[in-house]
């Protein structure tokens, strides 16, 4: 897979192998998890004041739902614009979509980690993708999304 910055600030992803393109396609779905641990992680309490917590649930959480959903929709639309060729898939992330991708990738990483119960040690482990080992594949998926996040952070620096 090749990544490069276009003149207009977009990130170009080229020669994406089918396996990695499938993982990209899973970003919106993984990020939409309704698992209770994921919900708790996405919508944490803002403090210990009960009144604030109740106000937060009523006023802030709905806005966060919209924000997270919007990022996933942007990613979905960019993925629909991908093209396939002999060398693999190609797509571009327009510069104005960079934040949505950062957000959706973060959502997906957090959701997968919460669903899988991964801790700091798991996240720091060296992972070799092994189709026979679902845990290793899941950690690889989080790592792949993290790699893309790093690239987007650097491009925005």
């Amino acid at each position: 897979m090749k990544l490069q910055a276009a003149d207009d600030g977009a990130m170009l992803l080229e020669e994406i192998p089918p396996f990695l393109f499938r993982l990209l396609g899973e970003i919106p779905g993984r990020a939409s998890s309704k698992h209770p641990r994921v919900e708790a992680r996405f919508f944490p309490e803002p403090g210990s004041d009960q009144e604030l917590i109740e106000d937060w649930k009523t006023l802030v959480e709905p806005e966060l739902h919209v924000l997270f959903q919007s990022a996933r929709e942007t990613v979905r639309a960019d993925l629909r614009g991908a093209s396939a060729s002999k060398g693999g898939f190609s797509m571009r992330i327009p510069k104005p979509h960079g934040d949505a991708w950062l957000g959706a990738l973060n959502q997906a990483r957090l959701a997968i980690a919460e669903e899988s119960g991964f801790d700091e040690k798991d996240m720091a482990a060296e992972v070799v993708p092994d189709p026979e080992d679902p845990r290793a594949m899941t950690l690889f998926q989080i790592g792949f999304y993290g790699f893309l996040q790093e690239c987007l952070v650097r491009m925005q620096d």
Binding site: G47, S48, V60, L64, G103, D119, D122, R154
Partner: protein
């Protein structure tokens, strides 16, 4: 039954409306360090050095007080941080006599 030390009760009423509040960011094992530093720069306008210092404090000590000021502004900052999926809370800042 063993006796328990009862911590001094601190109610919100005791923390006056004008009293300062801290915005605290807590560690989590998933968020990338570079991402956290980027969000600190964006939300608080920190320099790269200051953002990285707070990010490292979160990583090493488990939490960092990133801002202190009015409660209303503190809540707005926490809302923005939650929008970037950082674990953040507000808490009353200790009062100096």
């Amino acid at each position: 039954m063993p006796s328990l030390d009862c911590p001094e009760k601190e109610t919100l009423e005791e923390v006056g409306l004008d009293a300062p509040w801290n915005v605290v960011v807590h560690n989590d094992p998933v968020n990338l360090m570079s991402y956290v530093a980027l969000i600190f720069r964006r939300v608080f306008g920190f320099s790269r050095e200051k953002a990285e210092a707070h990010m490292l404090e979160v990583h090493r000590k488990g939490r960092s007080i990133v801002w202190t000021g009015s409660r209303e502004q503190a809540e707005l900052f926490v809302q923005q941080l939650h929008g970037h999926l950082l674990l953040a809370t507000i808490e009353p800042a200790p009062q100096t006599q």
